[in-house]
Symmetry: C2
Subunit: 594 residues, 2 copies
Amino acid sequence: MTYQPPVRDYAFLLRDVLALERYANLPAFADASMDTVEAILEEAGKFTGEVLAPLNGVGDKQGCTWHPDHSVTTPAGFKDAYAKLVEGGWPALGSDPAYGGQGLPHVVNVAFSEMSSAANMAFAMYPGLTHGCYSAIHVGGSDEQKALYLPKLCSFQWAGTMNLTEPHCGTDLGLLRTKAVPQADGTYRITGQKIWISGGEQDLTENIVHLVLARIEGAPAGVRGISLFIVPKFIPDADGNPGVRNSVKCLGLEEKMGIHGNATCVISHEEATGWLIGEENQGLKIMFVMMNEARLGVGLQGIAQAEAAYQAAAAFAKDRLQGRSLTGPKNPDGLADPVIVHPDVRRMLMDARAIVEGGRAFMAWTALHGDLSHAHPDETVRQKGRDYMALMTPVVKAFLTDRGFQVCSDAMQVHGGSGFTEHFPASQYLRDVRIALIYEGTNGVQALDLVGRKLAAEGGRGVMSFFAELDAFCDAEAGAAMAPFTGPLAAAKGELQEATMWLMQNGLANPDNAGAASTDYLHLFGLVALAYMWALQAKAAQARIDGGDSDPFYATKLTLARYYMARILPETATRLTRLKTGSELVMALPAEAF
Amino acid sequence: MTYQPPVRDYAFLLRDVLALERYANLPAFADASMDTVEAILEEAGKFTGEVLAPLNGVGDKQGCTWHPDHSVTTPAGFKDAYAKLVEGGWPALGSDPAYGGQGLPHVVNVAFSEMSSAANMAFAMYPGLTHGCYSAIHVGGSDEQKALYLPKLCSFQWAGTMNLTEPHCGTDLGLLRTKAVPQADGTYRITGQKIWISGGEQDLTENIVHLVLARIEGAPAGVRGISLFIVPKFIPDADGNPGVRNSVKCLGLEEKMGIHGNATCVISHEEATGWLIGEENQGLKIMFVMMNEARLGVGLQGIAQAEAAYQAAAAFAKDRLQGRSLTGPKNPDGLADPVIVHPDVRRMLMDARAIVEGGRAFMAWTALHGDLSHAHPDETVRQKGRDYMALMTPVVKAFLTDRGFQVCSDAMQVHGGSGFTEHFPASQYLRDVRIALIYEGTNGVQALDLVGRKLAAEGGRGVMSFFAELDAFCDAEAGAAMAPFTGPLAAAKGELQEATMWLMQNGLANPDNAGAASTDYLHLFGLVALAYMWALQAKAAQARIDGGDSDPFYATKLTLARYYMARILPETATRLTRLKTGSELVMALPAEAF
């Protein structure tokens, strides 16, 4: 069975849960009527399901090939699919119309991104990073740089990459050594080796725009001396077409556990010509535009792979006959019942639905706040949007990938022995999704970002605003129909608030307390966020039912919301207990004891 | 860094925690003085660390090769290592001296098995399955069969396999179709296709003894019509040497996510000559001797891979310089601190230790009960041994592999981006261990075995005996030194007892309640079992400290025990809450909704 894009669920989220049409009066949302959006979702579903999904296994098995002339070949079919992607203008849905984008709200783009990542994660990374490169230049580049690069990036004729990591430094970018020497013509000579560069070389596009972090000669040590450069593979000529070959080359590909269809490159800059973006020594600030966007995109990969893996598991569970139901045969004419009759199999499928559909709502809700942070006329709404984007980014990234990985593992489990073989797709989903817990800042780094920076930002304004929103919702929806959802939500929010207070008191006293508590806190936060998402979905579904809609889709949503509250959310208690033990036991042993 | 076998921890377990010398008066333990055992552990450590570990990565990268003549080549170096294994007589440590075994208690063999599996899981499976084949023939075979096969299996000159699964049936063996036609000479002609046969063909041994489940013509349908046959690759001649080639052949190898060094074969029996073991239609009973042994061995693989992955992660965390400690530089003269200074990294390493060393104790404790079930003169002790073996087998298998997989995933996370590349061993450990959650009965099947069969067996005698043992221990050790351990243990035992009562009441009312609760119940059980193991280890370590031993090994054990109680055990609350929600929500949606 091939991947079925969740068109219906996105339509429900955008129309009923997030009520996108509320914002129809804002210019940024003017073209996003639900009719338009639903038509886009349908077409996105077709494109990703029909063009990208069939190449997923091919990409895994073939991988990419490096050639001694430093070129790289992507798996069979990727080049054609990429051409169709460019032709359809898909990844530019949310980009600036001034440079050829379609100017739709980012929340619509999230739907396309999830579908393309679920259909073929390794493929979707190529345009994904290009979009990040586009955003960094859009925010930090000069007018000339924008005019030169953005149309080509926006059309995806050219690809973009992020060149951050070096062999001795990844998370700790302050250590980086790639150097930039200013030239008389205003350019720089960039020299250094970068590793783990996704899409650093490929045969899909006529040019590749590397964004490279480097240190200008004489710059301060550490993170305050890092600048960002544009280093194109081919230097654009006077007409803006690919011209002279720059001295940047791919020295080899990384062998990895998954995402074989994406070329993970060692990139050598050998006095390559680069152009500074923004000001000297301000490179990290601009790179973080790209990084934050990438982090949301990685959270999305967690959900995307989980959705695809769930679909494969559900299809297998309905097809595979083995054993009988504990409550009597359900397929009496067959040799056995399908394994979906077994409660423990059903548990894994229900867990998957609760995480995937709750996580999808969380991504879309966060993305909408991102849109409002730019597009809303009211500064209080814009401010809340900015606060939420900052606060939720590490949660979206780490919680959704940790849980997505678990869903992919359960999906393999549903397959039994078949899941461990490469004849079924379960292994690829599990291997592919695993990187999402690591790149763009490991999930541990996300947790530290949450407790160390995001919670306290602006005096805790973001998290207090979130608590107030939850309180208001629970108060407003305390009636009998919604109490099964708002009751557990309010209780879990109380635990999150208690954990937040504990962190503020004990993290100040000893920063290691915050570090030791960080992952449990992040998961507690994510559990509460998804509880809110399920309460919002329950409310929207109940409204449909009350309005006489008998589509079982809505009753299913209510069941899943109850399931989440009863069976997923109770984990908050363990998370709270654990984080309050602080750092003493975590740090009790000397390093030599390990 | 290469794998370091946990010789010291086993010496502590066998000498101080399980106090093996208590049983020195029993014939079966007569040769197992601690001096002997420690010498064996040292040698086992050398053999596995020096011979098997260096071939682990080779096996993963090369895999096995199938040839058109139906032969299979194992990875480079496996054949030599296997010869050394046979020469050392290692896997026969616990086997019957009547057939060439060394007759040591099985608990000593557990140490060797863990070490060899940690050093090279794919390799260790070859002798592992041979030992299972030995056990099945030892229990069910005729005297003639024993005389013919056991010496060769005991010396590992011949290998053994289990032929259970067919393309349409794995868990549900009642569906199997391989047929056996009786011949005038007392043999049977066996015809059918078997899949996923580990070590079904290889170049390590001069003969392979397949144990094959098949249905004798005219036998009843379902599980009551299954018989077990010996089908040797080469039929032994009059001298017991490999003679005529039997018509059993390998049609191909499975492509898998991990354990590439083990040949997972499609085996075709084409009127192969087989010999019935035991009586007609009693095959499953004998096969379960092999299966139960295999299940304990799979739980052991979970811990073994976790130990090896932990070691790799700890070494990386002490070596990799990145960022600074939250409480000020710990390596001020270096560019950065080693990542082990970060509390969230330390958390993952501490979790690993708590699971691995607790799980190892649980395996050894269970194995000792297995030994006592045969070797003790007192029938009440033997009975308790049998009860515990039956009760704990699904917990050892599923809990230790679920947790071992999590440890392997955390070990990859400690590595950051390096962990996802195949240059470091983290990926192999994670890919290899994943099968342990699936084969020999998926972990869901184990959970159902626990709640559906094992709990209620003999009127619940096993579980009641376990509760009584925990009560007696907590009462006896209620003093100040042990209260930090027995307090949490007693509370968690109360939760397990509550869950057990809930199951007895609600599982009878509706079997789906038991199915829906099964995995949470199994984890709750495992959490309590490991809490007991940590309390036992704390007691033994405290006794050493009270005796004036200043080796930091013992203080580390006390810290790890406190860590387990504070940070791992609290999960029981969530497990109890979840399982008590029953099956209603789990089963609420119709199958078509998935």
